[in-house]
Symmetry: C2
Subunit: 113 residues, 2 copies
DNA sequence: AAATATACATCGGTTTCTTATGTATTGATC
DNA sequence: GATCAATACATAAGAAACCGATGTATATTT
């Protein structure tokens, strides 16, 4: 089962920032594969969503980049800046809180209000 | 703390469908208040998002409506159709699964791949 | 040699939400 | 009894974010 696309909306940045915090540095394609592996294929990031998002985060100073070549093929590695490291923690905390709230909201069986 | 807007994106339909399954029938304003109450103000649905979404769900045959008047003030009650009842369960299940996946994804401390 | 995988990038269109605006009634406060 | 807040609907322009397609090129597998 692959999640309906609207579900994943808004979580992309959080996923990127968390992976980079764990992995140190990653390149775009690697991120798509890592997410696919870790979620058993349930979340498949599209390049059309990922690359613009990475570019935006870089422009905001959240990510820094280093370009390397494996043979003739380019790899653009992304890492967290200091601001990115802070933001990564904030985003994950916020999402953890959000999960709790949604769990409660979606588990209600009786009228609690 | 109010969640950043992009976090909530894509969850509106699920929230509506779940609440209607629990409550039987609700009107728009009631939904905004109920969500606010149940989430301690952390999720505040805006009318500009809610009403178009309700209209769309009605047009798709997911929701049915009855209009009533309290004095001279209109209330438009929404209920789940049969298709809506099925969809409600599917959406909540999908979200529950999504939560599990995201929890795993955001909790990784070490390289598991 | 052909197909698949790796690796980047952009762009048009769609969906979804935000912010603002508009109308009107009802209840509370002063 | 006037004013403000709450209740209750609705729409509409613009922004944000993503999808799907397209494009380029190298490397690996079959």
């Amino acid at each position: 089962m692959i999640y309906s696309s609207e579900l994943i909306k808004g979580t992309l940045k959080t996923i990127i920032l968390k992976l980079l915090r764990d992995q140190g540095r990653m390149y775009g394609y690697e991120i798509t594969q890592k997410v696919k592996d870790l979620t058993a294929g349930k979340i498949q990031l599209t390049e059309g969503a990922l690359y613009p998002s990475l570019h935006a985060l870089e422009a905001e100073g959240i990510l820094t980049t280093e370009t390397e070549y494996i043979g003739k093929r380019m790899r653009k590695y992304y890492s967290l800046s200091k601001a990115g490291s802070t933001l990564s923690q904030e985003k994950v905390s916020e999402f953890a809180d959000f999960i709790q709230t949604m769990k409660f909201l979606l588990d209600i069986k009786t009228d609690l209000a």
